[in-house]
Symmetry: C2
Subunit: 150 residues, 2 copies
Amino acid sequence: MARDGRLTIGDLSRRTGCKVQTVRYYEQIGLLPEPERSEGNQRLYRQAHLDRLAFVRHGRELGFSLDAIRELLSLADRPSHSCEAADAIARSQLQQVENRIARLTSLKAELERMIEECRGGRVADCRVIEVLADHSQCLADSHPPAATAP
Amino acid sequence: MARDGRLTIGDLSRRTGCKVQTVRYYEQIGLLPEPERSEGNQRLYRQAHLDRLAFVRHGRELGFSLDAIRELLSLADRPSHSCEAADAIARSQLQQVENRIARLTSLKAELERMIEECRGGRVADCRVIEVLADHSQCLADSHPPAATAP
DNA sequence: GCTTGAACCTACAGCGACTGTAGGTGCCAT
DNA sequence: ATGGCACCTACAGTCGCTGTAGGTTCAAGC
């Protein structure tokens, strides 16, 4: 830790579990304010930066987009306002999470069915390949794209 | 449909629900073989291309990565081999889907808790903001990054 | 035969949310 | 003074598409 309770970017990174590059990225896109610099041009952060970064990370862990977090931050900066907007953002996030769970649950069922019926023989008889090749055997709904890996 | 049962890229697109650009993209990354061309340089596909594309799309709907699909395709091309590898890919995919469901379920619980306790007052009292600001109130596990939108 | 307009072509930029690399500078301990 | 790590900037790459610009081909209608 730098003197006067100032934190280097590495300190910030260790305390939030957020990579150094990601901190710089957040600054670049305007999610974190530019901190002071040392004489040698290194970033020096204060507690307020740490709090703000923790807020961002926590939002990300809850699946909020950076845009949603940006909006939540700007709401948090005006504490006397109504929290209707924050509530709406959270509700929409909940809705999306529920949709994803539903979709993944049906994928899970189909994957289990595929695997269950694969008896470890030759590829020609493999249900995994067969099910993929023939959509008509499929329970899952069609076109919407699958979730990407986290 | 072009003559001789050949399909244009638009036909392929309509029959698989896969956008024209995406078909060209799959060709570019080597997931689909280059088809013949007409005299005017337009792609002409056969049934085999349609089957292969349907396989790819179905795999994507089940959440497989393009790399996993590439491997499944190469297995499908050698039908006399053991299907052990295909089974392993499907099992690993199932594992990932289960992990995502578990993670999303705990996010859902925390979002519900946040929303439940937000009584629509001022931002200063808003649980949504408060929970985001204070990680110690959190039930969700920490560092792994949140799922991205599907 | 000619015109129109949709469908096709290539090449490339952009999305979100980072992550990694190259090449250089600062800082601190020994 | 020197070693080695942490820091700096700038930019490219990841995944799986999607969109755009600017041009060509095709089929149908007149």
